[in-house]
């Protein structure tokens, strides 16, 4: 029987089984849309397993059994552009209903990594202290690959291990935090979680691609450069500062060693819990290097707008010419200073 399968056109089988799967999955999704929405709203995306056919007859359906492992359909790409803030739960349900099929091989044609592990990938997100999110990727068939993780406007490039694993702790940029990982072959995985603690924090970010290495400098409550209250990449503090409501901290995202990598730097301040009033002066610095001198450097800054949601502004920095290598362009007004009122 199996021999017969092998001689058939692989694509034809895949199409047929995929069609069967879509029909079945759609029915399942419609019946269980609440369950799915709940699952999406909490943490995990279920591991993707191939659907096992109980019988060789591809046209008969045996959908009374519920022993089949259901896999989360991937939402359409168009819906995954970085959103700034609000999640519409009804829209999520709708996306799930209308989602496209992942291009994983199905029945009987399980693919395996060079190390013999099944290709099925997982992408999980879990809230962590200081309104951060632990993002864990396991994609055995995407070992040593530069993948792009995006989250509510942030985007950064990381490299998976030989076994296709990556794990990052990302500052949440919205209470309803959405995450996407994109592989080189264009496939994406999506996950979301809720981070209620986000409302306590003020967050600003600067991001770029390549070697521009922009930096945020925060001078908290009248600190001068190199004082204890000067927070920046070389003195980033730790998240415990935020957790203990003592002050802000900086997190760097993205692997600078990867070619043309997307990187981001995020400064967080526990505005809602700190027991102190005053001003935190924020500035962005760009070094005039051999790489950037005489060029226009593209970047983005992310900060709350007047409505309280974090918005992205595209920047182009017109760097001084190469006679000024070693200097820094210091911009004090692309990020608005934080005014902390007494709590």
């Amino acid at each position: 029987m199996l021999n017969k399968f092998k001689t058939l056109d692989k694509r034809k089988i895949f199409t047929v089984s995929a069609t069967f799967f879509v029909a079945w999955a759609t029915g399942f999704a419609m019946q269980n849309s609440d369950l799915i929405a709940e699952q999406l709203g909490v943490t995990q995306v279920s591991p993707v397993h191939a659907v096992e056919l109980a019988s060789a007859d591809l046209t008969t359906k045996n959908d009374t059994t519920s022993a089949h492992q259901f896999t989360m359909p991937r939402p359409p790409r168009a819906a995954l552009h970085p959103v700034s803030g609000q999640i519409d739960k009804a829209a999520i349900r709708e996306r799930v209903r209308r989602s496209a099929i992942r291009k994983t091989p199905a029945v009987g044609f399980q693919q395996f990594s060079p190390f013999g592990l099944a290709c099925s990938a997982t992408f999980t997100v879990k809230p962590a202290p200081a309104a951060m999110v632990n993002v864990t990727l396991n994609a055995p068939c995407h070992g040593r690959e530069a993948v792009e993780i995006s989250h509510n406007g942030l985007a950064f490039t990381v490299r998976t291990t030989t076994f296709g694993a990556a794990s990052v702790t990302v500052p949440a940029m919205a209470k309803d935090a959405e995450f996407e990982v994109r592989f080189n072959n264009g496939e994406t995985l999506w996950a979301a979680t809720s981070v209620p603690e986000f409302t306590i924090y003020d967050r600003v970010a600067v991001q770029w691609q390549g070697k521009s290495n922009l930096k945020i400098h925060a001078l908290e409550f009248g600190a001068r450069y190199a004082d204890a209250g000067h927070v920046w990449a070389k003195a980033p503090r730790t998240i415990s500062y935020g957790v203990q409501a003592r002050g802000g901290f900086i997190v760097d995202l993205g692997n600078a060693n990867l070619p043309d990598a997307k990187q981001a730097e995020v400064y967080s301040f526990p505005t809602g819990s700190i027991n102190r009033a005053g001003t935190v002066r924020l500035s962005v610095e760009a070094e005039v290097s051999a790489y950037s001198c005489g060029h226009d450097v593209d970047a983005q800054v992310l900060q709350k707008d007047a409505t309280g949601t974090i918005k992205t502004v595209d920047l182009t920095l017109i760097m001084p010419d190469c006679g000024a290598i070693g200097d820094h362009m210091v911009l004090k007004n692309v990020l608005q200073d934080l005014k902390i009122a007494q709590n």
Binding site: D305, A306, D314, I318
Partner: protein, 519 residues
């Protein structure tokens, strides 16, 4: 008669200074082909052509003509160029935030191109096509340099922290910018205040305006004279070309006939100023309400016991005397459509939200209950005596008890019966609110107050006269108002409820006012 012909005929009546007849680089033809005008293109703002022709300078509606010739602008590629220059108090954070919010509001993509904090521009483009719609450039300096840019035709909008002076108005008119003192040449974007600041550890919590002036004149040199330690006072101010410093000079120094001391430390920005003051326990400075950094703000006190802090409400009502409206001036020439849309956007609730978030005071009127004004009543009772009797106070309380004070208040220019700049805007604002039906079915009370100078009866009459004048001005500015659904009352309370001490000019000016109450 179509627009084109009308424009041509109208232009024939216009006298021109007769510019040189340069090469004819554009020929504009009406759409029906019947009228043709040739000349040199002087400008195109996206809608209208300005052409120098044998008939003189003509302005023609672009939608009514086609253009031929080497000088014709690229219609599809037209990019509105808007140059904004002046006070960095406005240009550093507020105006850029307004541009960003305006772009988002209109579904336009935005990119900020930065050379430095002082020079940057925003490119606004259509998201679908990527076509650039406008370039809004900023040149952040100070009020004086902003005015120089306007005069030199290097900017289209000027950010100012003070009103333009008569000689500046004259110079602007001379170079063809029109009458900048006209109502439509300027608009208030938000409200700011001049606040005295000291280091957080300084024990001083309030200072009288006169003492503040004496300190900055160098006539009070030591903290010991203010009840503090024996140490010299370090003075901090913005540079003299900044509207902040000039406004403080007008409102605090000149009224006492004083000038600044020679040893004042000058700063190029409010942030720099407050950061310096915060570090020095013997420093005092004057900064913007929106930028106090880590300093402590002093209240303004009076000999008669009043004390007033700069707060949102006190700035909206101008009860705090050192207000500084944020002004945007535009010359008398047609601005591109994007610029006109932006100016219109500035009055929207969305723009007011941006003003608040930037740390300034927005102009949305708020209602304040009598309960929240207990201090005023207490002072009124304390100040009562021979001139103001208990009967007067009882009458006032009876009228105002069930009413709420609107933050819109009218005050007058120093030594004059003319309304000050914030109050002139208030007339329009109140008129527009009334026309929009804001206070329908309610009673609007214009309540006149005066200072304590002169007899109580005379002051009652003056108060009533002022309240009537404001009421008349508001109704005149609201021709579309259906007055049948609104009850308007005029009351005069004269000296009854002083807001500040009468012993000094500035206090008397604060007291001379017309308030608006709503039932």
């Amino acid at each position: 008669m179509n627009k084109f012909r009308a424009a041509v005929l109208a232009a024939l009546f216009i006298l021109t200074t007769g510019g040189p007849l340069a090469a004819q680089d554009v020929t504009l033809t009406s759409r029906d082909g019947t009228v043709e005008v040739a000349g040199t293109l002087l400008g195109y703002d996206g809608e209208f052509y300005r052409v120098d022709t044998v008939f003189g300078e003509l302005t023609l509606d672009g939608s009514g003509v086609t253009c031929a010739g080497p000088g014709c602008p690229d219609l599809k590629g037209y990019v509105a160029e808007i140059r904004i220059s002046g006070a960095r108090t406005m240009g550093d954070i507020l105006m850029p935030a307004l541009v960003e919010s305006f772009a988002r509001h209109n579904g336009m993509k935005l990119r900020r191109t930065v050379q430095s904090d002082r020079k940057f521009s925003y490119i606004l483009s259509q998201p679908e096509t990527g076509r650039t719609v406008a370039r809004i450039s900023f040149h952040n300096t100070n009020t004086d340099e902003g005015f120089a840019d306007l005069l030199a035709d290097e900017s289209d909008m000027m950010m100012a922290l003070r009103e333009l002076r008569p000689d500046e108005i004259r110079r602007a008119r001379e170079v063809g910018l029109g009458d900048l003192s006209a109502a439509n040449r300027s608009r208030i974007i938000g409200l700011d205040g001049l606040v005295p600041v000291v280091a957080p550890g300084n024990t001083l919590s309030g200072i009288s305006l006169k003492a503040l002036a004496l300190v900055f004149a160098g006539e009070v040199k030591n903290w010991a004279d203010l009840g503090g330690p024996d140490a010299p006072i370090a003075l901090h101010l913005r540079t003299m070309n900044a509207g902040m410093a000039q406004s403080f000079e007008d409102k605090a120094m000149r009224i006492f006939g004083l000038g600044f001391a020679k040893n004042v430390i000058l700063h190029n920005s409010n942030a720099e100023l407050v950061d310096a003051v915060a570090k020095d326990p013997f420093a005092i400075g004057i900064s913007s309400y929106s930028e106090v950094g880590n300093t402590k703000v002093l209240s303004l006190t009076g000999a008669c016991g009043f004390s007033i802090r700069p707060t949102v409400l006190n700035l909206k009502t101008e009860d705090y005397p050192l207000t500084a409206p944020l002004l945007l001036y535009t010359p008398a020439r047609r601005l591109p459509k994007t610029a006109r849309d932006f100016i219109r956007y500035l009055r929207s609730p969305s723009a007011q939200q941006v003003v608040r978030r930037a740390g300034f005071v927005d102009q949305r009127p708020v209602e304040i209950s009598l309960k929240a004004q207990g201090a005023r009543l207490a002072n009124a009772i304390a100040a009562a005596g021979d001139e103001i009797t208990l009967e007067d106070l009882k009458r006032m309380v009876a009228v105002l008890q069930s009413a709420r004070r609107l933050s819109i208040t009218f005050r007058f220019q120093t030594g004059s019966t003319k309304l000050d700049v914030q109050s002139r805007t208030n007339i329009e604002q109140l008129a527009q609110l009334l026309e929009a039906g804001a206070y329908q079915d309610r009673t609007l009370i214009f309540a006149g107050f005066t200072d304590g100078d002169g007899g109580a009866d005379a002051n009652m009459r003056i108060a009533r006269k002022r309240a009537n004048a404001v009421r008349d001005a508001v109704l005149k500015a609201a021709p579309a108002l259906d007055a049948s659904r609104l009850t308007i009352q005029v009351e005069a309370f004269g000296e009854a409820m002083p807001m500040a001490c009468d012993d000094e000019d500035w206090g008397r000016r604060v007291n001379r006012r017309v308030e608006v109450w709503l039932k």
